[in-house]
């Protein structure tokens, strides 16, 4: 199991051909208190870079993009019911959706933890 990061401030935990996706701690700190979350339904096809979910904080509404291509296995209903999880445990219980990847090689275009940290520092 490996964790990757995108330039859109998403983390992607890959286990075989299934990936869990959420927003990073850096992202939740920038967004402020998250008040509303919309996650994709199981079965929805996602293409890399396309809109996948919505996260709304007191400051702004943002799209969460699909970091990889594939099909949604499950959206996190617990997060929809309690959007505060995106703030309190962004890289754990605050995951957004899980997806089955159509091309596991796409992960090579993502960043690892060190690269992502350097990316955030440069922002």
């Amino acid at each position: 199991m490996s964790v990757y990061y995108s330039k859109e401030h998403e983390w992607i935990r890959v286990d075989g051909d299934v990936a869990a996706v959420g927003i990073t701690d850096f992202a939740q700190a920038q967004l402020g208190d998250v008040v509303f979350v919309e996650v994709p339904e199981a079965g929805r096809r996602l293409s890399r870079g396309g809109e996948a979910a919505v996260v709304e904080s007191v400051k702004a509404a943002s799209d969460v993009y699909a970091p990889l291509s594939g099909e949604v296995v499950e959206g996190n209903q617990a997060l929809v019911d309690d959007p505060a999880l995106a703030n309190s445990d962004p890289e754990g219980a605050g995951w957004f959706f899980r997806m089955r990847l159509s091309d596991t090689h796409e992960v090579n275009d993502l960043m690892d933890a060190d690269q992502y940290k350097a990316f955030c520092d440069s922002q």
Binding site: D33, V35, F36, V58, K59, P83, A84
Partner: protein, 526 residues
Amino acid sequence: MTMNREGRPTRPEAAEDAGAETWTGNRALMLEEPLLFEIGDTRTTGVDIEAVGEGDDAHLAGLRRTRPIGLAGLSEPETVRHYTRLSRQNYAIDLGLFPLGSCTMKHNPRLCEKAARLPGFADVHPLQPIDTVQGALQLIAELGEWLIRLTGMHSVAMSPKAGAHGELCGLLAIRSALEARGDKREVILVPESAHGTNPATAAFAGYRVESIPANAAGRVDLTALKARLGPDVAGVMITNPNTCGLFEPDMIEISRAVHEAGGLVYCDGANFNAIVGRVRPGDLGIDAMHINLHKTFSTPHGGGGPGAGPVVFSEALTPFAPLPFVDKIQADGGDRYILVEEECVGEHHGRSFGRMTAFHGQMGMFSRALAYILSHGADGLRQVAEDAVLNANYILRRLEDLLDAPFAASGPCMHEALFSDKGFAEGMTTLDLAKGLIDEGYHPMTMYFPLVVHGAMLVEPTETESKAALDQFIGALRHVAERARAGDTSLKAAPFHAPRRRLDETLAARKPVLVYREQDTAEAAE
């Protein structure tokens, strides 16, 4: 001599405890006010109406109420007091300077109110016979003529109800024009310095929105814009003066490039107040622009109904303008005003994209706006723009030593001054400063917009403030800004003196209570 021994003390006596809690929760003239439903319950009525017996419901198509509708039963004095008390907890332009950037909260002259209340304008119905509303139609036509002249454009649609509605009107005209030439373009470019409604409007009109970055001087990055233009770009939506309070000096060049690439130019005219009488958008190559009558022409923000956001068009877009509109014709040896609607469009207006609204627009706003224009005259309107810009620059220069003004070095601002939170002590935010300003008796400025600077504070004083009023506001803002820079943590708990202390916006958004239910209230009270 006779002596009245019943006199009352007329001097204050020193008392130790000045801040005793009151039994009512009221603080003298600051009155606590319950909800409507807590004043009057849903089982009684405040109005004495005869009981309705079993009767004829033929006039209601046989429909009848089967259960109570749950309205609070208040008497007239209870209702009047409720809303009057609530209004006293609010801030208004009639109370003081209202520095809300991008909103142009200027004084609403009472002369305009008087004109709007004339029965011939106030009491007309949109379905009245045309012969009986010639004066009202003349007023709409004359206001339209002024807007065309002031903007240097070709035609005007008076019916859109507000700024964003006007934006939609402009984009629908752009889309119609492109479709008419068989051109299916899908992208609208919106610079970062544009108003927040622009991308929303473009998306609503069915376009894909792409952002164009701002350059270091807070203007549109011309190189980036030109690089993005192409056969898929329907147009750009540009705000000028932009929402950093800066004039876009490359506007003519931008329009030329967009037109060369086959696109059209929409201008958000929300900030027209800064240039009215000085710059004609038509000379800048703009194809469509809305005008917020409640900003530039000082109709009230919220005037007992919708506002008005007329849209002016270039010659290229004029054939696609929405219906209806007022036309002046010669008949019986004099002027006569007619409404051009679907039934009577000639070949000249056959390509209109349709209607934005059921009727002709918001009469109460039109009469106020025309009264404003006529009472100022062309020279007065020019002075409006000059004074608005002067006031904003006075604020910019009096504060730039204390508040970071990211674009101040690039020269004068237009009608509004933009500051950032740079220089605040660790942990202190723009929100804290805004709450501190409430304690000083001011409505805060626009916060956290535009997004191009961190912790943005956008201050628009408008031309109607005197130097004394500006100086007092500057003094208050400097005082609060110094506290934010010094890390005065008491600012974190502000406001202290408002009817309510700092509200939990997160809780309100996560658990909104939008409908009154007696059961919920009972549970909350437990």
